[in-house]
Amino acid sequence: MYLPDRNRAPTTSQFAVRVAVLGGVALAMFSIIFLRLWYLQVLSGDRYLEEAQNNQIREIKVPAPRGEILDRYGKVLVDNRTALALQIQTQDLPVDRDQRKRVLKRVADLAGMSLEDVRKEIREQTKELPASPVTLKRDVAYPLVYYLQEHQTELPGVSVERVFVRHYPQGTLGAHIFGYVSEVTADQLEEPRYQDLSPGDQVGQTGLEYEYDHLLRGRDGATRVQVDALGRPRGAQLSSEEAVPGDSLRTTLDSQIQASGEAALAQFGGLPGAFVAMDVQDGEILGLGSYPTFDPSIFTRPSLSPALYKRLSSEQTGAPLADRAIQGLYPTGSTFKPITAVAALESGLITPDTPVTDTGSITVDTIEFKNAGGQAFGTITLPTALQVSSDVYFYKLGLEADSEKSEPIQTWASNLGIGSATGIDLPAEVDGLVPTPEWRNQLYDQGETDRPWSAGDSVNLAVGQGDLQTNPLQMAVAYAAIANGGDLVRPHLAQRVEDASGRVVQEFNPAPRGHVDIDPEYQGAILSGMHAGAMEPGGTSYPVFGGFPVDIAGKTGTAERGLFEEDQSWYIALAPYPDPKVVVAVTIEQGGFGADAAAPAASQILATYFEHPNAPGHAAPEAPAETGAGAYD
């Protein structure tokens, strides 16, 4: 009912009720707001105050430089340099699409990149690390830094940060050993190993950088500053925590031996290969390399293009990223013979003086096994068999061993560390395989191979052919065990860790993995056979080592790689003879006879070892030279 319009205050009861209701609504509204204010300000005030303070205190990370990696004499192999990195913090970019595009376009122009490239970098880097700033370019020039500081407000989310970047003063030297460093990925952050890290932190991804990451990493510092909503600092720095640089890693590497080994590998027209030089007593690695190699500084770029990564890991290019010294899996050819010899001697199949007649070939199960050169060496004993590398001699040992229940060759190969990872302080080492009847028969039962184990397999294994799969490092460890009387050393690259002030934090003297007793008489026979092989006429590597100033013991190897490929060249040397300090193992894929490729490479490495005035493990370069070639001619 509409109210009558009287020329005086309407005072009907309906009007009064309506006004009262209006007043009630007002009262309710004010009550709601008062209660809400009470709740927000009086009851929750402290919590919001904290949030308000967090709003404006920003922690700026002060990156800690990573520790250096040094060789055994303190020569710097890996250190850091500071770089000015142009970064985009994607969450600070304008939300509006057009504005965002404008900012990115401007950044692209400043960085000398195309807008597409900038977008691509953002896409690729945020895929892996969504919360981290995207680094567009490392090593920007100072004028750009000043420009950005002046135009900070127009380019939200764009900044130049001082970052540490790995630097390799020796170029590609030791590329496979050091590995590389990059930002911790989202997946890695879930691992307990990285629990203390936050997105954006740098961690070692491979090699020593990975293995000793926790020591090299250091602890980032932080500066807490008051900032406004745009992230601009205002007011004083509130507190700061200094960055603690990472500890330095002193390795066992001898950079001259390393360089010599890498140069030796590189001289075979691009054939892939690997080498190891190791102290036979304590397993210190003096040099370890793989060819082809790569430039480790490519990983300091903001991102690695898929094309480049493919080139570094594809078969066609020889997979430069692969470390063949610890990841290669090959048969070893005749370099396996000393292992067969240890097995045959220790299991009583022969003595060092047992005469065996080499007629040039033997026939096992209708298959004829011949000496490599087709020669017949007549009736010979073990040292001569090693010197001339008689296959028939070892075929016969293999055949005899095949009938032994204890599988002496396999047992001793395994005892000497063949077919299992050596435990070197590098990630991604592989095991390999010592073929056994059980292994092949099981595969045969599962239908995965065409035939069961036969005596021929033992014959092949005795000379390091067939299904055997091992790598230079495992062979070096086995040879070291023969040379040092049976200690299965644990090869290692880390010697000690020093903090920034040079104080030794930790030393590495890993105990041997195990010990096998090798009769000194047998050891002497094997070493003298190998010595004759290198230093005496008729020896397989005499053409290479005949004039070498230091007596060594060495064994060639020529491993078959199948019908369509050249044989793989092997050489393993123990030096000096008769009291070896160092073992050098070299293999060149498709390098042909052991004496053709691997032996010359080994001789170069050994030459460096003995020329080196401070070379570990031998007193003076003259001393072995005096006992020289003549003594054992």
Binding site: F30, Q56, V227
Partner: protein, 408 residues
């Protein structure tokens, strides 16, 4: 129905015979009309505008480079002009506006239409008309014009046709400008027009059942706009509007989007605590709080002056609205009551929605806080509305005086 009354000076018709006491000469206060103003209403209004200027003074120092008092000076000028406007209107008998209802209504509709055509766009909406020293927002002035015109039409309609038709026509008259403002688009102000229309109808005595029907229609419309239309692919609201209207339900989800504003406002208000953070008010000072001198000025007050300051501010509003409701009841005629109801509801709605937004219980809409938010249109129009209230008060005072005089 009497036509508008000219304010009568009680002494003008006094007999020639001398009176011993009181003096027949009107005092200065009486001559300027100040004597008959509602002092509490004036106190609340001036208190609020002073509060606004103080808040702007401590908050916006660094906003305009080289001119720390940019906002303070402008708001002070608006305040002076506004108070003068209020006093001027108070001296006029509001009942005259009844006759001008068609003109007022036409002026309102045409300026709102004009803004759609020539208005300058800010952040994608057209709400303003640019003048050399001033940007004028017709939808603000339109609020008061609508109150005066619609109340006039309501009186008119009282004598004609059926109740249902009257209600329908008044609704149409009130909601047409609201619809135009939705188009600008300016949801908040559009809702203010709706609230004014409802308040005028309510005091006009529209039947409860009509309100129930309108209420049902509103619920249906909201459902249609927010739920059904987007679902069938015909969005009525722009994306940001929908987001702003709904994000207050879930303020913490994503600190970067439109709920960012709500979160920052909540942090500002909450961090103020009991007595405020004073110069430590970093939410406002460091730019975390958006639109801090306009839409979110309450959050600034909450942070800087705490519960004490916010409660004091709300008390001023409570005083203002209490006086408005009081004036509604003492009005000499229904027209005045309807105007008072429209203005009281407008103020209530704006205060509740704006403050509610800052404390996180209402969606974000660009509704200014009357007399507090910086802005010429809003300040002047609010004073204009208060001038109308004062006019109603003055007329009621004069009427009762003349009645008393007649009785003598």
């Amino acid at each position: 129905m009497a036509t508008a009354r000219v304010p009568t000076r009680p002494t003008a018709r006094a007999t020639p015979r001398p009176r011993p006491f009181p003096s027949t000469r009107p005092s200065a206060a009486e001559r300027t009309g100040l004597a008959y103003l509602d002092p509490l209403l004036a106190f609340a209004a001036i208190g609020l505008i002073v509060f606004s200027i103080v808040t702007l003074a401590v908050t916006t120092k660094g906003d305009v480079a080289g001119n720390p008092y940019f906002f303070v000076i402008r708001q002070s000028i608006y305040a002076v002009i506004g108070i003068a406007l209020m006093l001027a209107i108070a001296r006029v008998d509001y009942s005259r506006f009844r006759e001008l209802r068609v003109g007022l209504y036409t002026a309102m509709i045409s300026t709102i239409l004009l803004v759609l055509v020539v208005g300058s766009a800010t952040r994608g909406t057209r709400r303003w008309i640019e003048f050399p020293f001033f940007t004028f927002q017709p939808s603000e002035l339109g609020k008061v014009l609508l109150v005066a015109a619609l109340a006039g039409f309501a009186i008119d309609r009282l004598r004609r046709t059926s109740e249902r038709q009257r209600t329908a026509r008044l609704l149409l008259l009130g909601l047409a400008p609201a619809a135009l403002i939705f188009l600008q688009p300016d949801l908040g102000t559009g809702f203010v027009y709706g609230v004014i229309t409802m308040a005028v109808l309510y005091i006009a005595g529209v039947h409860w059942t009509h309100f129930a029907a309108v209420g049902a229609a509103v619920v249906a419309a909201i459902t249609l706009v927010l739920v059904i239309a987007p679902a069938v692919g015909l969005p009525v609201l722009k994306g940001y509007q929908q987001e702003r209207l709904t994000s207050f339900l879930n303020p913490s989800e994503d600190p970067r989007d439109s709920s960012y504003q709500i979160n920052q406002a909540l942090i500002a208000v909450g961090s103020g605590g009991k007595t405020g953070r004073g110069d430590e008010a970093t939410q406002a000072q460091s730019g975390f709080l958006p639109e801090r001198h306009t839409d979110f000025i309450f959050a600034v007050v909450g942070e800087r002056f705490g519960f004490v300051g916010a409660a004091f501010l709300l008390s001023l509003y409570a005083l203002l609205i209490w006086r408005a409701l009081r004036i509604l009841t003492i009005s000499k005629n229904l027209y005045g009551s309807m105007i008072a109801a429209g203005i009281a509801s407008m103020l209530m709605f704006q205060v509740f929605v704006n403050v509610g937004m800052a404390v996180g219980i209402m969606p974000i809409t660009g509704i200014p806080l009357p007399l507090m938010s910086y802005g010429g249109s809003s300040v002047l129009v609010t004073f204009l509305a208060l001038g109308l209230l004062q006019s109603i008060y003055v007329q009621a005072q004069l009427t009762s005086k003349s009645r008393a005089a007649t009785a003598l």
